[in-house]
């Protein structure tokens, strides 16, 4: 009898895990990342030396995502889970309690008092995050440590070159404010001496008050702002109404929370900075 129950449980577990099967002959580390930004950074560092799985599927707003039971099970097979922290992943505490995986927070260098979780949008921070990833991977897989290190150096050079390239260009501009639909760019703004005026707060989906709308419209008109930035993953309705009313155009900013085209971090950030420059 007991055996039958045992078999049943096993079958159930197999069913729940989508019968992906046991990950046999492990080639390298099995890494899970909480959403696209940590995924891309990890992928850059580990290349093809490890298996990286992204938890939040492309096109989904990571703030609202929650893992399925299948996701929780697959986390058990992970050697390490990289997550952003600062409240970006509301589900992370539960996942930590219920799985055996090793969780590594990528925002440990940021002060606790910071409210904005979108740390990766500053290339300087992205380098620091990659450093944490590199250190963790090297520790867990010392064989490939030099390979990881090499990739990290390459990424570091690229990301910092981006900052160096755009800093003087942005510094030349007189305007220092950007009007954005989602308050995700405080770290980016810190890097480049800019200021963001956000229609909405951290969370992407809620409605602004009429008084806020008025303030932004007036600000845009007074300061001759030419572009309002919207985000593809957020409903553009508010941004559309604002730009129509204030007589501006719309430009996209990518918050790199998900990417359907599989563009790399530096490509996306270059596009973002190019668009920011255009609007100043």
């Amino acid at each position: 009898m007991n055996r039958r129950i045992y078999a049943l449980c096993l079958a159930l577990v197999c069913l729940l895990s989508g019968c992906k099967g046991v990950k046999e002959d492990k080639k390298g580390l099995v890494i899970y990342t909480s959403f696209y930004a940590p995924y891309d950074l990890t992928k850059t560092i580990c290349g093809d030396k490890a298996e990286v799985y992204n938890m939040v599927p492309a096109g989904t707003e990571p703030h609202d995502w929650e893992p399925t039971s299948k996701d929780m099970l697959s986390l058990n097979s992970a050697d390490v889970v990289f997550y952003n922290g600062l409240g970006m992943e509301g589900w992370i505490d539960k996942a930590k309690e219920n799985t055996k995986a090793d969780f590594v927070c990528l925002s440990s260098f940021i002060g606790k008092e910071k409210e904005d979780p979108h740390i990766w949008l500053s290339p300087v921070n992205a380098v620091k995050m990659s450093e944490i990833i590199t250190d963790t991977l090297s520790e867990k897989d010392s064989e490939n440590a030099s390979y990881y290190k090499e990739n990290f150096e390459k990424f570091k050079t690229e990301a910092l070159a981006l900052t160096e390239e755009y800093k003087p260009l942005i510094a030349q501009k007189e305007k220092k404010q950007i009007v954005v639909s989602h308050a995700a760019y405080s770290y980016l703004c810190d890097d480049f001496g800019l200021e963001q005026l956000a229609v909405e707060g951290m969370s992407a989906e809620s409605e602004p008050s009429p008084s806020k709308m008025k303030d932004i419209i007036n600000f845009v008109k007074e300061n001759d702002v030419k572009y309002i930035y919207y985000e593809e993953s957020v409903s553009p309705k508010v941004a559309e109404v604002l730009s129509e009313e204030a007589g501006t155009e719309l430009l996209p900013l990518n918050s790199f929370e998900n990417s359907e085209e599989g563009k790399s971090y530096t490509t996306v950030m270059k596009e973002n900075l190019e668009n920011v420059l255009k609007g100043l």
Binding site: S209, S211, V241
Partner: protein, 265 residues
């Protein structure tokens, strides 16, 4: 200080608020009498399901939302007629059905971002097309409600005696059900599900406390709805508060106040 009222977005918000405040409580009056107060919630969630299905199979999501709301409303009407003493059960069943379908199908949508944009409605972010749609809808609904005024009144109070006195109860119910579904699915996408489902009930409840006849109840509920939405917009024009939530809370405050005053009398 009052320049905000000259801004087109605010003017559109006010026009839409007036339209919604006129038609929603009028529908709500009959809804409340039919013991289906939660229908606004149920149908707006079915709208979600419709959007999810539309995006999954590549149909126009707004159309599928309207169609799905109508189907759900008909299901509610059917369950209600089967369990005449427990009609609130119908809304609960359809609400869970809608949420369930939306949850399952949203897992298959490649670009969930577009899912969000079809659900999102805010009274301060209304496009020109939505404005026109709402105005036409309001006129259309108002015309039908006035035309069917007596039939709806009889049916809502007592279906059996209405049938006996020659009212085509089934057709009246059918028309009313479809009308409700259309109003909820379009208005939820324009002003948000919260505003629409609360305007269907709270103004009616307030009106019940002050009016002496069915007709008065209709008129007072519209007056209350106008009061809530316009003062809600007025307050949020000067204070940085969420307009949808503010409108609902003003309604609740007025209701509590009225209950209190009535009790003292």
């Amino acid at each position: 200080m009052l320049e905000i009222f000259t801004m087109p977005f605010m003017q559109r918000a006010i026009v839409v608020a007036i339209c919604i405040s006129v038609i929603t409580p009028l529908i709500g009056n009959t809804i409340v009498l039919k013991r289906l107060s939660a229908i606004g919630d149920a149908l707006s969630h079915s709208g979600l399901a419709g959007v999810a299905i539309g995006l999954c199979f590549g149909f126009n999501p707004i159309m599928t939302a309207v169609v799905f709301s109508i189907i759900s409303a008909l299901i509610i009407e059917y369950i209600r007629s089967r369990f005449s003493n427990y009609s609130e059960m119908a809304t609960a069943v359809v609400l869970s059905f809608g949420v369930g379908i939306a949850a399952v199908f949203s897992g298959f949508i490649k670009n969930a971002a577009s899912f969000g944009s079809f659900l999102f409605g805010s009274i301060v972010a209304i496009s020109q097309t939505e404005l026109i749609t709402v105005v036409i809808l309001a006129i259309f609904v108002l015309a039908i409600l006035l035309f069917l005024y007596r039939e709806l009144l009889y049916t809502a109070f007592d279906e059996e005696s209405a049938q006996l006195s020659g009212v085509p109860v089934r057709s009246v119910n059918l028309i009313f059900t479809i009308l409700t579904a259309i109003v909820v699915s379009i208005a939820a996408r324009t002003v948000g599900a919260l505003v629409i489902s609360s305007l269907m009930v709270i103004p009616v409840a307030c009106a019940m406390l002050v009016s002496k006849s069915y007709k008065q109840n209709m008129i007072f509920s519209v007056v209350f709805a106008l009061l809530f939405t316009i003062s809600g917009l007025g307050v949020t024009a000067f204070y940085d508060l969420k307009p949808g939530g503010t409108i609902v809370l003003i309604g609740i405050a007025v209701l509590i106040l009225l209950i209190f005053v009535r009790k003292k009398e």
